[in-house]
Point group: C2
Chain length 424, copies 2
């Protein structure tokens, strides 16, 4: 007797998975290793920027009142009484008629309130004294970067959960984070099933294919920010499989299996979930590919039963596993970034189910297009290579035409969406 499964809607399925998503812990890593991780705490300014009034240019620090009467016809002459390299501090107070040679980034000396750019000043020697001619009037504050102008101490500059890109690294360095609090990567186990699977280094055999899903998923885990742990392939014996799953689950935060979730005679997972008393959240989704994607929960840990079909496996991971990973990393926008764009080709054949079509995003005159990556049979591995997006086509009785507006999910983006229904 075939089991009857009732499909649920994609977003319902995601919501039911997200009920078991949890935020993980934090650890400190050296600033050198922070790129590509996720901040586990808000990044705060530990000082004003600039932390002192400074010169944005090479030039001369002056007292603006000295230049009140200066003009091209009648320049004012000041004596250069010293010079300040970036990083050094001028020790005396500058008085009327004096100027100080100042380098970019150096602190404005006491008494000065403006800077004349080097290229606008004429310098010369006079009786062994160094002089500078200024040929226009300056106002108080001209060419000075003021203390706190860019940011003030205590400001939160980057929010907890943010992906650490080179700009964030620069801020971390500026504010003294030699050690960076980052989110611990969730540890996610991977077990593959399927007696047709050969290992990547085995020669091809009749009726068999090489196991590509495992490596693909390990790579998707890395892209999402998790640590993948491969537990090998399922044994043929259901009792041994059961022990494998039980043991693996004790060592990881979440567990992914690939294959074995259909209703076929060789699909062990449904029996294993039952045997281990796991709560099956759903085992059928109204979507293509990946309708057999199954997610179960045992003692708060999620078991992702992804399809053995490469495309379904890929899509199932991105829709269901990725947001759980991003949540674990404290990321505030765990879902794939959704944007509106234009379909790059016709999809005239209607389909009752929501479809997720691997696609390549391109840009044309300020508009976003998504073009299906290769022939879209769910078993076509090759089309995955070019894909940087998924086109979502709602199910229904109508087909879709080129240039129609569609929802596009971006796969290589680090930004994401906070909510399921919202579009940016």
């Amino acid at each position: 007797m075939l089991e009857r499964r009732t499909p649920i809607r994609v977003n319902e399925a995601i919501i039911s998975v997200m009920k078991y998503a949890k935020v993980g812990g934090m650890e400190n890593v050296s600033l050198n290793d922070a790129h590509g991780r996720f901040l586990a705490e808000d990044l705060q300014a530990d000082h004003d920027i600039p932390s002192f009034n400074r010169s944005p240019y090479d030039g001369f620090a002056i007292r603006s009142e000295d230049t009140k009467m200066a003009s091209r016809a009648a320049p004012v002459t000041l004596e250069v009484v010293g010079e300040i390299g970036a990083g050094s501090v001028f020790q005396e107070e500058v008085t009327s008629g004096q100027a100080v040679r100042i380098m970019t980034g150096a602190q404005i000396p006491a008494g000065c309130d403006a800077v004349v750019m080097l290229e606008l000043a004429r310098t010369y020697s006079h009786h062994n004294r160094r002089m500078v001619d200024i040929n226009r009037a300056y106002q108080e504050g001209d060419n000075i970067s003021f203390k706190g102008e860019e940011t003030t101490k205590g400001t939160v500059l980057v929010k907890k959960g943010t992906y650490i890109n080179p700009g964030v690294v620069a801020l971390l360095a500026t504010f003294g984070y030699s050690e960076v609090p980052v989110s611990i990567k969730p540890k996610i186990g991977v077990i593959s099933t399927g007696s047709e699977l050969l290992h990547v280094d085995e020669p091809l055999q009749p009726g068999k294919i090489r196991n590509s899903n495992t490596f693909m998923i390990l790579s998707q885990l890395e892209r999402a920010g998790a640590e993948g742990v491969y537990f090998g392939q399922f044994a043929d014996d259901i009792e041994v499989c059961y022990q494998q799953v039980k043991k693996a689950l004790t060592e990881v935060d979440f567990l992914i299996t690939t294959g074995g979730v259909s209703v076929g005679d060789y699909d062990y997972l449904p029996d294993i979930y039952q045997k281990m008393n796991a709560q099956v959240l759903f085992n059928k989704i109204g979507m293509r590919p990946g309708s057999v994607t199954t997610v179960a929960e045992k003692d708060g840990k999620l078991l992702f039963g992804l399809s053995g079909n490469p495309s379904a496996c890929y899509v199932g991971f991105e829709l269901f596993t990725r947001p759980v990973i991003r949540t674990y990393l404290s990321h505030q926008q765990p879902f794939l970034k959704r944007i509106t764009g234009y379909l790059g080709t016709d999809f005239k054949k209607p389909n009752p189910f929501t479809r997720f079509i691997r696609a390549t995003v391109s840009f044309e005159n300020g508009r976003v297009f998504a073009i299906p990556a290769g022939l879209d049979k769910s078993s076509v591995v090759s089309s995955l290579a070019d894909a940087n997006a998924l086109i979502e086509l709602p199910g229904g009785s109508r087909g879709y035409e080129k240039e129609m507006e569609v929802v596009i999910h971006l796969l290589e983006d680090q930004d994401g969406c906070a909510r399921l229904e919202e579009k940016e």
Copy 2:
């Protein structure tokens, strides 16, 4: 006497750098470590996909001619003579009146030429024989994935130089690449200059700032695909600096210095280039920020003299160093991906120079916008954190208004552009 420098156009500067770009070597890494690297050879199919005629569904393999007369009213009954799990091969020839239970992905047995989906077949026992009723006619080839249908042996599936994403990893696994030929990462030295710089773990001091450029550049190097080697900070003595640069250059493929390229009295780099007989390709560019960006060449090795200003340093790296890195990695589109989009804000003040403004790309109803990331003073570190793009505003006498079309360079993209002038 101040040195007079003649600015050159941005693209001219890039072209003169690219004359010294070179393609690096290759190495083999385990498939587990291939994600995020660049392919050093074309990826070829080592077999047809599928490599045999296979079933895309769970169901029954049949001889279509047996079903010629089948209808809902008068189903045809076949005897189920065996079953084939995925990965196994049915050893006998199926003859008239017979069917074989077949699993998804399994090889079609000899004699059969169509598959009936499991849910469309009614099975039952009759005198201890297993029977199946088929209630419509099937054609030869129905529900069969044919050998070579998706790809044929020898096809180049992914080009040399491609960034290895999870989809490429799946292909590599499918075609038996347990070891993957990847491009060796260029080794790029980083030396920072500036007596105002404190190390990240030093407490703040009057007149000084923490060195953020070094960590930022190391992180940009990682994003671009290179290996950064930090050689520490310049000494105060020019002879010692000279020795530092000379020695560092022997240990790396390219060298980056940050700061010290202006015409100020403390800017050693120009003298060092001269002393080491390096050919200065340019030392002034008609762009903001980063006009002092200097690139020199010594015995075919490039020395990137980036500005000490964080934004200028950042932009200089992305425009000049990144394409050299991507070329080294055999990537065929070494330049930042350029797209057309709409300005998210006014830039009414005209500027004679080409400006590169750090920005965040967003999408609205199928259109691409770029919004400047924070206040755009070239010294503002904080705006770098949000930036995932650079807006390019050509210099001239006019300002720019919100919604105007502009060129946007994408920073987090792995795809790039093949040529400098082309837009996608």
